[in-house]
Subunit: 345 residues, 3 copies
C-alpha cells in the first residue's frame, strides 16, 4: 500500500491542503500515529492531537481551522466518518482476490458452478449444488446437496451449509457459521423420553445478507426459515426453526430468536437479546442488550429488561429500585410514627 | 415425492374422506397453500382457512364437521400433531441415505469401523478409533484418537471430537459441535498470571443423545463429563468440565452449565439459562429463559430470573416492581400527610 | 499408565506413608474409587471416605492424622490441590505428542514453518504464513494468508484464523474458534438498508493466551483487536472489533465484549456477562455471571446485575425486592390508617 495525499483525496472526493505528493503507506489513529500514515479527525475531543500527531496526512472536516501551525498535510472532506468508510472499502477492493480451484477439494459431478469462483482446498460441494458467478468458497467449507448459492457470495472457512439451503446474491457468511441444522423439535413420550420430530424444511437467505462467525440458523420443520434481504447477523447468534427475520434487521452477537417467531423489518437487536418462540415483533423495534422478550411487540418500540418493557419506563423503575432499601426504611419509620399516633387516639 | 391421499392415510393410520387417489407432491400451511399439497388443521383458530385453502388434502381430527362445502380431500386422524410428526419422520426415512467412503478422507490404520458407514470427504478418523455399524460421518469432521462411537450415530459436518471421547448409540451431533475441549481450569500464581491445569478426562455421551450445532462440551479434569441417555442439547449450549446432565433433560439454545454441576433427569431449560458451578439441580426442574441459577435447586421447581426464584413468586414481585414509581410517590405523599399531622400534635 | 506410590511422591515432592511399591494405574475420586487408583483428600468434608475408599493411594495433607485404621497407602504433601495439578500436568506431558505432517494437508509454497511441528490432515496453511517451532496444528484447521504463529502454540481441530492474524508464543486455541472475522460494522443508508464498512484490521494474540472452543474474535476495523498476554477466554465468548483485553484477564463462557471496549488487566468475568461498546473497564474488575455493563467501570469493582452495580448493594436491593408484595401491602395498610385518621381531624 502506497498512495499520495492526492490519490486519497480523489477516492474520497476531498481537497488536499498541503503537499499533494505526501506519501501514505498505512493508516493510524490521530493519538497513536506514525510517519507516512493517514489519520482522521472526526471527534472534536481529539482536535488537540492534530498539532502533535506524527501522521503525515489527516482527514478533517471542510470547515476545520487550525489554531496553531500543523506538521501534517490535510485532506478536507464533508464528513470524515463517511470518507474513512469509503476509504476502507476502496482499500479492501484493491486487495488481491482469491480465484481458482485449490486441490484437493471435492465437487460432486452433478454440481454446477459459475465463472470466476474461488474454491479453497478441502471445500466440499455436494450433489446438485448450484453456485453462481464470482462466488468465493474458502477452505474446509461444506455445502450440502441441492443447495443453491447466488452470485458474488463469500463463504468463509469452515462454514457448514446443510442440504437444500438457498442463499441469495451478495451474501457473506463468516467462518464456522452453520445453516440448516435440525430445528429443536421433540415430542415427549409417556416414559419421559423424547421422540425426534424430523425437520424436513430448509434455510433461505435472501440477497445482501451477512451472517457472523459461528452463528447457527436451523432449518424449518416444514417450509423455510427465512432471513430476508439486507439482514445482518453478528457472531454466535441463534435463529431457530421456522423463524422469519424481516428486511434490514440487524442482530448483535449472542442474541437468540426461538422457534416460529416472526421478526419485523428494520429492527435493531443489541447483544445477548433473547426472544421467545411463536411471537411477532413489529417493524422498527429496538431491543436493548440482554432484553428478554416474552410477548408480542408492536412497531417502533424500544424495550429493555426481562420481561422487557419500554426503555424509559424501565429506567424510571430502575431508579426507584436502586433506592429500595431507603424506601423500606422510610416506610418502616412512617409506620412507627403512625403507631405512636395510634396511641394518642 | 408423490403420494396419494390413501398412501398418506396408511402411514398415519387415518381414514380418507374424499378422493383416495388425490395426488400430493409437497406439504404446505393451511393458510399459505398450493394445489397438490398436504396441509393440516390442528389449531381451531385456523378452521376458517379450510374452506378456502388450495391444499388438495388436509389432515383433520376424527370429529371435524365442516360448516360449508370443501374443495379438499380430508384425512381424518385421532391427533393431527402426532400424525404430522409421524409423516415427517416417514418422509425423512424415505430420503436417500449417504453411504460409502468418499475421497480424500483420512483413517488411521489402527481405527476400526462397522458396516454400512458413510465417511464424507475430508473427515478425519484418528488412531484406535472404534466406529459402530450404520454410522454417518459427514465431511470435514474430526474424530480424535481412541474415541468410541456406537451404532447408528450421525455426526454432521465439521464436528470436532477430541481424543478419548465415548459416544453411545443412536446419537446425533450437529455441525460444528465440539466435544472434549479442555475444561477452563487455571491456578492463579503470585504474579497475577494463571497456570494451566491439564484436563485429562473425557466426554461421555450415553445413548439417544442429540447435540446442537456449535455446542461445546468440555472434557472433565479427571474422569468424565457425562451427558446421560436421551438428553437433547440445542445449538450454542456450553457444558463445562465434570458436569453431569441427567437422563432426558432438554436444554435450549445458548444456555450454559458451569463446572462440576450435576443436573437431574427430565429437566427443561429454556434458552440463555445460566447455571453456576458446583450445584445440584433436582429432577424435573424447569428453568425459564435467561434464568440465572446461583444455588442448589430441589426437584420439581419452576424458576425464573437472576437470582432465580419460584416463577409465581417472581411474577408477583414483578407486578409490584412495575409500579415502583407509583409506590414511591404514594409513600412520599403519605409522608407529607404525616408531617402535617405531626404539626397538629 | 502404571506408577508406584514412590514415583508419584517424587513428582509432587511428597512422602509415602505405607508401601512405596503400591501400584497405581489410574486416578479416581475418594468417594467413587477403585483398586489401583490414586485419589486425593483436600476437602475435610470428605475425610470419612478415606477409611472405606478402594483407592490404593490417597494424597493427603502433611498433618493428616487418621482416626481409624487405613487400607490405603498415603502420600503426604503440603497442599493436595497443588499436588494434583502438578500431577495432572506431569501426566499430560507424558502422553505421546503428535508430530509430523499428515497427508493430505495444504501448505502454500510461500509459507515457512519451524521445527518439530505437527500438521494434521486437511489443515490449510495460506500464503506467507510463518509458523514457529514446536507448533501443533490439528486437522481441518484454516490458517489464512500472512498469519504469524509463535513457538509452542497448539491450534486444535477446525480452528479458523483469518488472514493477517498474529498469534504469540505458547498460545492454545481450542476447536472451532474463529479469529479475525469481520467486525460488525455497517453504515445505515437512506432507504433503511445498511452498507458494509470494510474491516481491514486484524487480531493480535500476545503470548500465553488460551482461547476456548467456538469462541469468536473479530478483526479491528483498522489496527488490531488485541488479546494481551496471559488472557484466558472460555468457550463461546465473543470479542468484537477493536476491543483490547488486558493482561491475565479471564473471561468465562458465553460472555461478550462489544466493539472498541478496553478491558483492564487481571479482571474476572463470570459466564454470560455482556459489556457494551466503547467502554473502559478498570483493572481487577470482577463481573458476576450474566452482569450487563452499560458504563465505564473503575478499578477493583465487583459488579452484579443489569445494569450492573456493586454486588453488596445489589444484594441489599435484591433482599427488599423479594419482599415487594409485602412492602406494597404494608404501604396500603398504612394508607388506610391515615385516611381514617384524616377523618378525625
Amino acid at each position: 500500500m502506497k498512495f499520495t495525499a492526492q490519490d486519497i483525496a480523489t477516492i474520497i472526493d476531498g481537497t488536499v491542503d498541503g503537499d499533494k505528493n505526501t506519501i501514505i503507506k498505512n493508516v493510524s489513529k490521530i493519538d497513536d500515529s506514525a510517519p507516512e500514515t493517514l489519520a482522521f479527525l472526526a471527534n472534536t475531543n481529539y482536535t488537540h492531537h492534530i498539532y502533535t500527531t506524527q501522521a503525515s496526512v489527516v482527514l478533517v472536516k471542510n470547515d476545520f481551522t487550525p489554531d496553531k501551525p500543523l506538521q501534517c498535510t490535510l485532506i478536507r472532506v464533508k464528513d470524515p466518518y463517511t470518507a474513512i468508510a469509503t476509504l476502507l472499502n476502496a482499500y479492501a477492493e484493491m486487495q488481491p482476490q482469491k480465484v481458482g480451484i485449490e486441490n484437493p477439494s471435492y465437487m460432486a459431478k452433478s454440481a454446477t458452478i459459475g465463472d470466476d469462483i474461488y474454491l479453497g482446498a478441502f471445500a466440499y460441494i455436494g450433489e446438485n449444488v448450484t453456485i453462481g458467478n464470482n462466488v468465493k468458497i474458502y477452505p474446509n467449507t461444506y455445502i450440502g446437496d441441492n443447495t443453491v448459492i447466488g452470485d458474488n457470495c463469500i463463504i468463509y472457512a469452515g462454514v457448514k451449509v446443510y442440504p437444500q439451503s438457498h442463499i441469495g446474491q451478495n451474501c457473506i457468511i463468516h467462518a464456522g457459521a452453520v445453516l440448516g441444522s435440525d430445528g429443536f423439535g421433540f415430542a415427549p413420550t409417556k416414559d419421559g423420553s423424547y421422540k425426534k420430530i424430523a425437520q424436513i424444511g430448509n434455510v433461505k437467505l435472501e440477497d445482501n445478507v451477512e451472517i457472523g462467525a459461528n452463528t447457527t440458523i436451523d432449518c424449518a420443520t416444514m417450509g423455510s426459515t427465512v432471513i430476508k434481504q439486507g439482514v445482518k447477523l453478528d457472531n454466535l447468534v441463534q435463529i431457530a426453526h421456522n423463524v422469519v427475520i424481516g428486511e434490514n434487521t440487524v442482530i448483535a452477537s449472542q442474541s437468540g430468536v426461538a422457534g416460529s417467531t416472526k421478526v419485523g423489518s428494520n429492527c435493531i437487536f443489541a447483544g445477548q437479546v433473547g426472544v421467545a418462540g411463536h411471537l411477532k415483533i413489529g417493524n422498527h423495534t429496538t431491543l436493548a442488550a440482554q432484553a428478554g422478550i416474552m410477548s408480542d411487540v408492536d412497531e417502533n418500540q424500544t424495550l429493555f429488561g426481562t420481561p422487557a418493557m419500554d426503555v424509559k419506563q424501565a429506567f424510571r423503575i430502575e431508579a426507584v429500585k436502586r433506592k429500595l432499601p431507603d424506601l423500606r426504611r422510610d416506610l418502616n419509620s412512617l409506620s412507627k410514627k403512625i403507631k405512636s399516633l395510634d396511641l394518642d387516639l
